[in-house]
């Protein structure tokens, strides 16, 4: 489709609005209320352009470009005098009440309002009256509120309420005194509130954790990173100054997180700066525990050559580190650091996805699904961004149907909203307990895992009769299955989501069966399984036995040295079993970044890098391998990536030191050879020696300040910049200034676009893929000749036992996370550990709400917990908060005794 802009002809995509078309063509047009993920409402009137009827029309008509669809041969002018004057006037209007406090504003230097003001050319204010002022609110420990800076673009409420489904932020009052905030002071309830800081075009909502150690965007050293706090693997930008991680920003990835992050991901970075970090290698048996690198190498070398070595991998360590450990100890001695139950589930998921019968779904594809079935996973709390994607699917399906009904483009947000009103797309949530996502669900049902699995199988059986053999389903169950099955049948792109958090393989099998049964003909069904940690999938794909097996082996064979990689075993394994393991080991060598219960057991402790001071690759639950890059230059401490420690030990052991520096690329190459399931993993990002015109990609913006002063207080003779040999990124401000390959974009910036909105300039089209394709490498391929995998294990329905309760974990969107809980702000929002049971179960126990209960499993006593009565938990099940700072590993999914 051709359009003419200022008498030049351009080709644009049909169906877009003029603003999107202009931005895609790299033309600068200011805007505020439009947001690529949220569409247009035409409220700010900032994006005005002149549109002409035909080439003879000299007068034209002023229109808001975000409200007009492109049409063939359309003539418009951005440079037109009236349009320019109007845009300048709009900024002047918005600026009448803006306090101009940029020097003290956190947004300064990354402010959309600053950019747009400069872009329109407004420089002289004619308004010389008093500005209106507001009282700010306390919005909790994550978000700071400074209402005076507001320019009333309505983006915050549109994001918070319409996009993220929150209801405690709203717009109040009217005329030139509208107020965006809560009804009264209080913590913002949505776990997606952090995005307000990026959605707000100016400094009304800002990152409160950044305030603790504020740095201007231009002063940050930034590197592409991947979130560590759940299995979704959102792309982030880690930002450093003065050796400290200062903040996390969203890194657009059109296939994964898009423009947003959850609060756990955005704010859970403080563990990197924690007091609790291990910075020094220790040999606990010596009087002087601190050891130099050569000492520790020698010591470890002697330990691992003395006896049999067992390696315990980690679902939160990178692929490189896990593989380096596998190489060091040998494939047969490498174990996953998780319980057998969890490992079994993870293996099952890998088997399902590797089969290639159903598509492994990305978040973007979930957003575009027209029906969603969730079985057995509380994704709101275990994978918040996936819940946000499901919400979009549900809301947008109705919207796109409405827009087809009467010809209204999908980006016309306000009109679509009016059309769709309360209509929703299909979502069924079949989970153990209620979740906030149930609010938008068409059907939600809460039952014990086995019953959920039975319903799943019943749906599969309804969709493809005859495939399931044992069909002794009750009438009520069949009725439910029919309702859900009928709705799924109508869909063109249904998605089935499940997860490992109810520790029941039948649930996952049932969900998979539904996906397979649906995947017929034209219908393209996708499947997703949420896992527990950021690299659970990567570890599972390595296909090693679980910790429980390691424990058995050591018990029978005895005498072994254990090397434990970035894993707090006590978080995964009941403490009695873990103690047993450590007692039977001769020596325990631990590599980790933070002190925890496991590092207490270490005789030798090696300081490992976190995601911020090391490189590595993670595989998310979709099977997408994604590379993260070091952002904190390490010049003084002994901290280094675990794989580097392990690789050094290996070269010492094998005497193969050849003087070459070791790169993650080399490890991935070795991994590809050793483990064929990781085929292609070397292409996950540009190699370490990648350059553009001989230049590396700078981690620092060209305005980076204080280069000769920043370290001057430590060393007057200015050390040379830290040399990063592991990646195509450099630790300086010099280097290639253009758009780097999508996987190694350290920050978003473009001339005139200093704020996060500059991401437009990195995309092929607005809201589309990054230039050169979205980063990440999908390891699971859809196979047309896939072996038809189908499970037939319909479990018996759940029977409430008299004195035994099924123990299941209950996660919290903000509080759960071994590492994120080190952020003080998140810790304050995290609940205290508790157990919840139905009133029926409580009566059976003769207990009441608030009593302290003790959970006992096969003689193992867990600490006592207060109990809460919860109507939505089914009888016979006890839910215990999991993943909190205080939480320890429990035998999830087993029947336990409970004592008062």
């Amino acid at each position: 489709m051709f359009i003419h802009i200022d008498n030049k002809t351009y080709t644009v995509k049909a169906g877009k609005n003029l603003l999107e078309a202009c931005l895609t063509l790299d033309l600068d047009l200011p805007y505020f209320c439009w947001h690529p993920a949220m569409g247009s409402v035409g409220a700010c009137r900032q994006c005005a352009v002149k549109v002409y009827k035909d080439e003879n029309d000299m007068k034209g008509r002023l229109v808001m470009s975000c409200m007009e669809t492109v049409t063939e041969g359309l003539r418009l002018s951005i440079e037109d005098k009236t349009a320019k004057a109007f845009r300048e006037q709009v900024i002047e209007w918005l600026m009448t009440n803006h306090p101009h406090d940029c020097p003290v504003c956190d947004e300064g230097g990354a402010c959309h309002l600053q950019d747009m003001t400069v872009m329109t050319g407004h420089d002289y204010r004619r308004y010389n009256y008093k500005k209106r002022t507001y009282t700010n609110q306390y919005l909790g420990p994550l978000i700071n509120h400074e209402m005076n800076r507001c320019i009333q673009c309505y983006r915050c409420v549109r994001y918070y309420r319409d996009y993220a489904g929150g209801d405690d932020l709203n717009v109040f009052a009217a005329h030139n005194h509208v107020y965006f905030g809560r009804e009264k002071d209080g913590v913002l309830q949505s776990p997606f509130s952090g995005n307000l800081s990026e959605v707000c075009p100016t400094g009304v909502f800002t990152d409160k954790t950044l305030k603790e150690h504020y740095t201007r965007k231009w002063d940050l050293t930034m590197a592409p990173s991947v979130c560590n706090h759940c299995s979704v693997g959102c792309n982030t930008i880690a930002a450093e100054r003065y050796g400290q991680l200062r903040c996390m920003l969203n890194r657009y990835n059109g296939d994964v997180n898009g423009y947003f992050l959850c609060d756990r991901g955005r704010f859970g970075y403080e563990f990197v700066n924690s007091e609790n970090r291990i910075k020094q290698a220790l040999i606990r048996s010596r009087t002087n525990e601190a050891a130099t690198e050569s000492e520790i190498m020698e010591h470890v070398q002697s330990l691992i050559s003395m006896s049999k070595v067992v390696g315990i991998g980690s679902p939160r360590a990178s692929l490189e580190s896990n593989f380096a450990l596998m190489q060091l100890v040998g494939k047969e001695n490498f174990y996953q650091g998780i319980s057998e139950d969890e490992a079994h589930l993870n293996r099952l998921v890998v088997e399902m996805l590797r089969s290639g019968c159903v598509h492994s779904v990305s978040l973007k594809e979930i957003e575009q699904a027209d029906a969603v079935l969730i079985i057995g996973e509380d994704i709101w709390n275990t994978a918040p961004m996936m819940a946000l994607a499901v919400r979009q699917a549900v809301v947008k399906t109705a919207a796109s149907q409405a827009s087809q009904e009467i010809k209204i483009p999908v980006w016309l947000d306000s009109a679509i909203k009016e059309l769709a009103q309360e209509e929703k797309g299909f979502l069924a949530t079949l989970t153990i307990a209620t979740s906030p996502i149930d609010d938008i669900a068409t059907h939600s049902w809460h039952a014990a895992p086995d019953d959920l699995a039975r319903l799943g199988f019943a749906i599969a059986s309804y969709l493809q009769p005859g495939k399931i053999v044992n069909t002794d389903f009750s009438e009520a169950l069949l009725d439910k299955a029919k309702k859900i099955g009928d709705a799924l049948k109508k869909a063109k792109n249904p998605v089935v989501i499940t997860g490992t958090s109810c520790y029941n393989d039948n649930v996952i099998k049932a969900a998979f069966d539904v996906a397979v049964a649906l995947n017929t003909g034209e219908r393209k069904t996708s499947f997703s399984c949420v896992m527990t940690e950021c690299n659970s999938m990567g570890l599972a794909m390595m296909g090693s036995p679980s910790f429980s097996v390691a424990n058995e082996n050591i018990k029978t064979n005895g005498h072994a040295t254990a090397v434990i990689l970035e894993n707090d075993v006590y978080k995964h394994i009941p403490s009695a079993n873990a103690d047993e393991f450590f007692n039977s080991c001769d020596h325990v060598i631990v590599l980790d970044a933070l002190h925890n219960a496991t590092t207490e057991k270490a005789q030798v402790l090696l300081p490992a890098a976190t995601f911020a001071d090391g490189d590595g690759t993670l595989v998310n639950n979709e099977g997408r391998a994604q590379r993260f890059f070091q952002v904190i230059p390490n010049t003084t401490s002994q901290v280094q990536e675990s794989w580097r420690w392990l690789k050094k030990l290996q070269t010492l052991k094998l005497h193969t030191l050849n003087g070459h520096a070791l790169h993650p690329d080399d490890l991935l190459r070795e991994m590809e050879t050793a483990l064929p399931q990781f085929e292609g993993i070397t292409n996950v990002s540009p190699k370490h020696d990648f350059t553009i015109h001989g230049e590396k990609i700078p981690r620092e913006p060209h305005r980076y300040s204080g280069r000769t002063a920043i370290l001057a207080n430590k060393n007057v003779s200015e050390p040379k910049p830290f040399n990063d040999g592991d990646s195509p990124l450099s630790f300086t401000m010099e280097g290639y200034k253009g758009t780097p390959p999508s996987g190694v974009v350290p920050f978003f910036w473009s001339p005139g676009w200093n704020s996060v909105q500059s991401v437009n300039k990195y995309q092929e089209e607005t809201n589309g893929a990054l230039r050169g394709g979205n980063p990440g490498l999908q390891l699971f391929k859809n196979k047309s000749d896939a072996r038809d995998l189908f499970f037939n294990d319909v479990p018996e329905s759940f029977v409430v036992a008299k004195d035994r309760w099924l123990l299941l974990p209950k996660y919290d969107a903000l509080g759960s996370g071994e590492l994120s809980s080190y952020t003080a702000a998140l810790k304050t929002l995290s609940p205290q550990p508790f157990a919840s049971m139905s009133t029926g179960s409580l009566q059976a126990l003769n207990a009441k709400d608030g009593d302290m209960l003790q959970i006992v499993d096969a003689g193992i006593m867990y600490g006592s917990l207060p109990v809460k009565a919860d109507e939505n938990v089914c009888d016979g099940v006890v839910l215990v908060t999991a993943g909190l700072r205080e939480s320890m590993g429990m035998s999830w999914g087993t029947r336990v005794q409970i004592k008062k």
């Binding site: 230097g109 920043i710 001057a712 207080n713 007057v716």
Partner: protein
């Protein structure tokens, strides 16, 4: 070789005469010039006892200014640092807490502010960039220190004395540049 310009001056290479060979006359000529200077005005002064008059826009060492109530003007916005062509300024911002209003003028202040005086070229761009009239190049100059590390000026070295507590030192540090406070 052909000359490239027409400004070539051919050198006269004829042999010296007897008078020129004995040099006496030339020595006398040189002595005359020397002796003439005994009677001229002295161009040097007895620094540091005596000091020269400076232009009112002389750019000396930096000061961090305070307002009339003695509060720090700097809000650690970072504009001086980003303007500095020598990249010699670095700072860390902190939030003003309640009860500190008498110390800091606005809600943010510089918890740390350092200038690497070994790198500074005294161009004054920091002064021009400052939106809060907080940093000035004063008329103090020639700092002397025993170690190089001492030339990394901290906030204590830069901050002007409080005009209310120590008006004399304040005026001295400010120099005779009439600045709005």
């Amino acid at each position: 070789m052909q000359s490239l310009t027409n400004r070539v001056k051919p050198v006269d290479r004829k042999p010296m005469t007897f008078l020129e060979k004995i040099y006496l006359w030339e020595i006398a000529k040189g002595m005359m010039i020397t002796i003439k200077h005994f009677f001229k005005r002295k161009p040097t002064i007895k620094y540091p006892e005596q000091k020269r008059e400076f232009s009112s826009v002389f750019r000396g060492l930096h000061i961090l200014n305070r307002d009339e109530q003695g509060r720090e003007r700097c809000t650690a916005c970072g504009l001086c640092a980003v303007a500095c062509p020598a990249e010699a300024i670095t700072m860390e911002a902190a939030e003003r807490k309640t009860g500190e209003e008498h110390l800091y003028r606005e809600e943010k202040y510089a918890a740390r502010y350092e200038i690497n005086m070994l790198r500074c070229i005294f161009c004054g761009l920091c002064e021009e960039a400052c939106p809060k009239d907080a940093i000035y190049l004063s008329q103090t100059f020639t700092p002397s220190n025993l170690t190089r590390a001492q030339f990394i000026y901290k906030k204590d070295d830069l901050l002007i004395p409080d005009p209310n507590k120590d008006p004399e030192q304040y005026a001295k540090a400010l120099g005779d540049r009439k600045r709005p406070q």
